[in-house]
Amino acid sequence: MEIQEKIKYEEELDKNFFDEIKEKSGCDEISQCIQCGTCSGSCPMAVYMDYSPRKIIAMIKSGFKDEVLKSFTPWLCASCYSCQVRCPSNIKITDVMYALKRKAIKEKIYPSRFSIPVMDKEMHKILTNNGRSSEVWLMLNLFLKTRNPLGLIKMAPLGLSLMKTGRMSLKKESIKNKKQLRKLLKAVKEGTK
């Protein structure tokens, strides 16, 4: 039996990763992390994460790029900002998680059948195309993309309750001035390339 190597050598770490995340999240304070664990203790989703928020920050600082970007942790952040308001070093942890999500999507290393990144991408697509979101269409696209027809069937009772209380809209919502939105998004896109 081959012994599995669990050690990561210094030369295997990505030394630029830390600076990149600092820049992308607009949060220089990551350098000030004292590893106190207040973030992990405050996080309502920490029990479901593969690495706790405290570990993620430590791993970013050390350059564990692959492990961090493949982790479920950023996708399990519900953006409740509990960690952020409590962090004694003023680290904008929620914004760091957003930066990790964007980087994972850009480098296409997010878990592709995991519904959260797919939902974020679909919603963003609907919004940038039409200016407004349409819940029913978002859900349909989501189940198609995650190839999960069973999920759709499971949603039926909820759909029924929403219909009964008049809270479901099948309309494809859209803004009037789509031309302006397109112009704006085009201008934004050109600058970031």
Binding site: C80, S82, T94, Y98, I105
Partner: protein, 295 residues
């Protein structure tokens, strides 16, 4: 100022219609004019920020610019809209190169934004701008005996709010007292409901919402009162599954704070969207001496 631009967001037009249905007459009764924003677009909430930061801030810049052109501040009842618009405002005011670039792009698309718009949540307006004394004057029917768990959730009180404490806020409790209801000491008041994760990861969603429902029940609340459409949605849709999974009857009505305000202002309850509740309101009506009809 007694005129604002109302930014509804997507929820108020779909699963949270009763938020809009109740908040508009409440503002009218208080004497504040709300005009719905012309051709508003969605804020992108947590989704756009997870995908593309510059586009996320750009679409919010468009919203802020529409309000600026009209010369009015924004009222955003949805917690996610409120947070995202406030976050964007702060981003634009940061004067970083990134922010300056997006402001320039906004200008080129005819959405110039100078940064003069203030984003308000109705709760902060009611308690801190109008004041509870004024609210009390509008109360025609005190909700005596109704015990409510005031649930603030995350995104109104964290991290950008300027009107309450991020961990133990009290404004909603005070407002409920002002209309005659009795707020219970709800220690889970700012614990997360899972947001958009709840619909996607059932196991986690049920656990998070179970904590919220159980604590409200334990404190003897008749209803949970929310200030966020997604909180209300999650707390409602998970109840049946939670009762089954945890074998604990934690069923409890989930209401918007504006619905109860409207009731206290004696606005006909048919006009406040109570019929949109997925949970039976019968015990609550009985307690309020209202004939026990689930309307």
């Amino acid at each position: 100022m007694n005129e604002y631009i109302y930014y509804p967001g997507c929820s108020a037009k779909s699963n949270a219609k009763h938020y809009e249905e109740s908040i508009l007459p409440v503002f009218k009764e208080i004497g504040i004019k709300l005009n719905e924003m012309e051709d508003w677009n969605c804020c992108g909430a947590t989704a756009s920020l997870s995908v593309d930061k510059t586009k996320a801030f750009a679409i919010n810049g468009r919203i802020l610019s529409i309000a600026e052109k009209a010369g009015k501040d924004i009222v955003a009842p949805c917690a996610a809209c409120y947070l995202t618009l406030k976050k964007s405002n702060q981003f634009f005011m940061s004067k970083t190169e990134e922010a300056k670039k997006i402001l320039k792009d906004l200008e080129s698309a005819g959405c110039e934004y100078k940064g003069t718009v203030k984003v308000n949540h109705p709760l902060g307006l009611f308690t801190d701008e109008i004041g509870l004394e004024e609210i009390k004057k509008k109360v025609k029917r005190k909700l005596t005996g109704l015990r409510v768990a005031c649930y603030y959730g995350c995104q109104v009180v964290r991290p950008y709010t300027d009107f309450d404490d991020p961990d133990y806020p009290v404004r909603l409790d005070n407002l409920m007292k002002a209309i005659g209801a009795e707020p219970v000491d709800y220690s889970a008041k700012t614990r997360c409901c899972g947001g958009s994760l709840t619909a996607n990861i059932e196991e986690a969603g049920l656990m998070l919402n179970y904590i919220l429902l159980k604590e409200a029940k334990r404190k003897g609340a008749d209803a949970i009162v929310t200030i966020c459409p997604l909180c209300l949605f999650n707390l409602e849709i998970t109840q049946d599954k939670i009762v089954k999974k945890y074998k604990n009857d934690v069923k409890i009505p989930i209401l918007f704070f504006s619905q109860l305000m409207g009731l206290a202002f004696d606005i006909p309850k048919e006009d406040l969207g109570f019929s949109r509740s997925m949970i039976s309101l019968k015990p609550m009506w009985e307690k309020l001496g209202n004939g026990g009809t689930n309307e």
